[in-house]
């Protein structure tokens, strides 16, 4: 049995070693196999049995380098590379953890689809097995293996160099990295269907990766903002579903079940992130989550502050979903009719046509405005439009309360 301590250590060190190895030798695919398939697997067995060596990173690096050499040797077509790699003595240790960040940038390569970026990130940086990632996304292992292998080929074909991009390019790539971490978190947070107990905890994994990125880039407000947003959202986890798995909306959640430690940490980070010169969407969303976390009851929510944050968010990152959320906040400060008027501006937006969130928010505001028949109708339509079973059950239960 592999101890949790060994597993944690391996998942922290393996991407650093992989980063270092790719930096020396290129060949992402071969290095990935050598580290994740061979060295980490060998370490799990040996360290559990004999204890962790004095320099675990050096140990992994040495074993992985040897495996890489073996691989190259056995590959006749690549014989010419053998002498070059074999001649290099395996390094005793690898410098810094910067390599993990470079690796993350590589996995979030812009030529990949978001699905491939998330899968590859979980594999190469998160150290999850292909089987675990497949379970997390509820697809067969063969499907996930093909997706990961295709992603590696694409990176190779793109001829990407293993280095941190510079300047504006770096900023843009970092946004992609953060988006991928956000997607991983959301996939974990909205675990939609059966066999949830078998699924690896993607939300926790996303938080771990976000912490790692923040350790490298503590000055970046958006990195800190994303981590804060994840922590503040994760804090509500216990309260957001009933034991039967039904959704509990924010205003009905038992706030004593929120995780205070996560809220404290998330709130501190959200504040810290706002201190910087630039303001990005994750910082604002974290600020909104912190405002909700600050209210002991739903009735004590500082809605004007929430509304103001959505207003800024709408300006810096215009998006119909943001307007939709602002309508909810506006309804709380200026009344449901004002919220409904704002929703009406989304009616012409193709991205929102027939979207269940627009229907459900409208249903909610109609209910608040006293239009029971309209609310009933919209809850029913929203229930038909969602692809989430939990959400459908919730919307149907709201509708049945208003049944004429």
């Amino acid at each position: 049995m592999i101890t949790a301590a060994v597993e944690d250590l391996l998942r922290e060190l393996a991407p650093q070693v992989l980063g270092g190895l790719v930096l020396r030798h290129g060949q992402f695919e071969g290095c990935e196999d050598a580290v994740q398939e061979e060295a980490a697997a060998a370490a799990a067995v040996q360290w559990t049995a004999e204890g962790v060596p004095d320099s675990p990173r050096g140990w992994l690096m040495t074993v992985a380098s040897r495996r890489l050499i073996d691989q190259v040797r056995s590959d006749r077509a690549r014989r010419e590379r053998e002498s070059a790699i074999a001649a290099e003595a395996p390094p005793q240790d690898v410098p810094g953890t910067d390599d993990t960040l470079v690796l993350l940038f590589l996995c979030c390569h812009p030529t990949l689809t978001a699905a491939s970026q998330t899968a590859l990130t979980l594999r190469a940086v998160g150290g999850l097995t292909t089987a675990e990632i497949a379970r997390a996304f509820l697809v067969p292992e063969a499907t996930m293996a093909a997706r990961i292998s295709r992603a590696k080929q694409r990176i190779k074909a793109a001829g990407s160099t293993f280095s941190l991009p510079a300047g504006a390019d770096r900023e843009e790539r970092l946004r992609v990295v953060l988006h991928v971490l956000y997607l991983i978190f959301n996939e974990g947070y909205t675990a939609s269907s059966g066999r949830e107990l078998d699924r690896p905890d993607l939300a926790r994994e996303a938080i771990r990766l976000a912490r790692m990125v923040r350790a490298q880039l503590p000055e970046d407000g958006e990195v800190t903002g994303l981590l804060a947003l994840m922590l503040l959202t994760h804090a509500r986890r216990e309260a957001r579903t009933t034991t039967a798995g039904d959704l509990v909306p924010l205003d009905e959640q038992d706030r004593t079940r929120w995780d205070r430690a996560l809220i404290e940490e998330g709130t501190e980070l959200a504040k810290a992130s706002l201190a910087g010169p630039a303001l990005g969407p994750y910082q604002l969303q974290a600020a909104i989550a912190a405002t909700h976390a600050d209210a002991a009851t739903a009735g004590e929510t500082n809605w004007p502050q929430v509304h103001a944050a959505y207003l800024i968010l709408e300006r810096i990152a215009p998006n119909p979903m943001v307007t939709l959320n602002r309508a909810v906040a506006l309804a709380e400060t200026a009344g449901p009719r004002a919220g409904l008027a704002l929703l009406a501006t989304l009616d012409g937006d193709e991205r929102m046509a027939g979207h269940h969130r627009l229907l459900s928010v409208r249903a909610h505001l109609l209910e608040k405005a006293g239009d029971t028949a309209g609310a009933y109708e919209h809850y029913r339509r929203a229930a038909k439009s969602t692809a989430s079973l939990a959400e459908q059950r919730y919307l149907e239960s709201r509708a049945s309360r208003l049944r004429p």
Binding site: A146, I148, A387
Partner: protein, 123 residues
């Protein structure tokens, strides 16, 4: 996101195809399966036997009764499906358009989002 691409076939339309057209149809599905496997988007595909092989099962007053199918008396029947996992609904539609049936009048290719999954996926 998971989608089920349902292939609604009309036996009359299929029978009217020439041998070459039938060959091309089969080859088109073969190439489609290979491409989906390679991209890591295919979960499973299955083709169903002729509707005349269907049995309709009902239980009334606790007593099971079996009658010859199909359940729906229609011109089109579900002939098979692709269960895929892809980026977005747009991508699912793009993939569906590559299925050879989509280019044949009288055959229906229908894309539907999956709402709930359970069971072993290692089919």
């Amino acid at each position: 996101m998971k989608f089920l691409i349902g292939l609604h076939i009309n036996p009359t339309v299929l029978d009217a195809l020439t041998d070459e057209e039938k060959m091309a149809l089969g080859a088109g599905h073969g190439a489609f399966v290979e491409a989906l496997k390679e991209s890591g988007e295919l979960i499973i595909t299955q083709a169903l036997a002729d509707p005349s092989q269907a049995a309709v099962v009902s239980v009334r007053n606790g007593q099971p009764a079996v009658t010859d199918g199909p359940f729906l008396e229609a011109k089109e029947y579900l002939g098979g499906f692709y269960l895929i996992d892809c980026e977005s609904k747009e991508r699912a539609i793009e993939l569906a358009a590559r299925i050879p049936d989509a280019a044949i009048e009288g055959l229906g290719v229908e894309v539907r989002p999956v709402m709930f999954s359970d069971g072993t996926l290692e089919a």
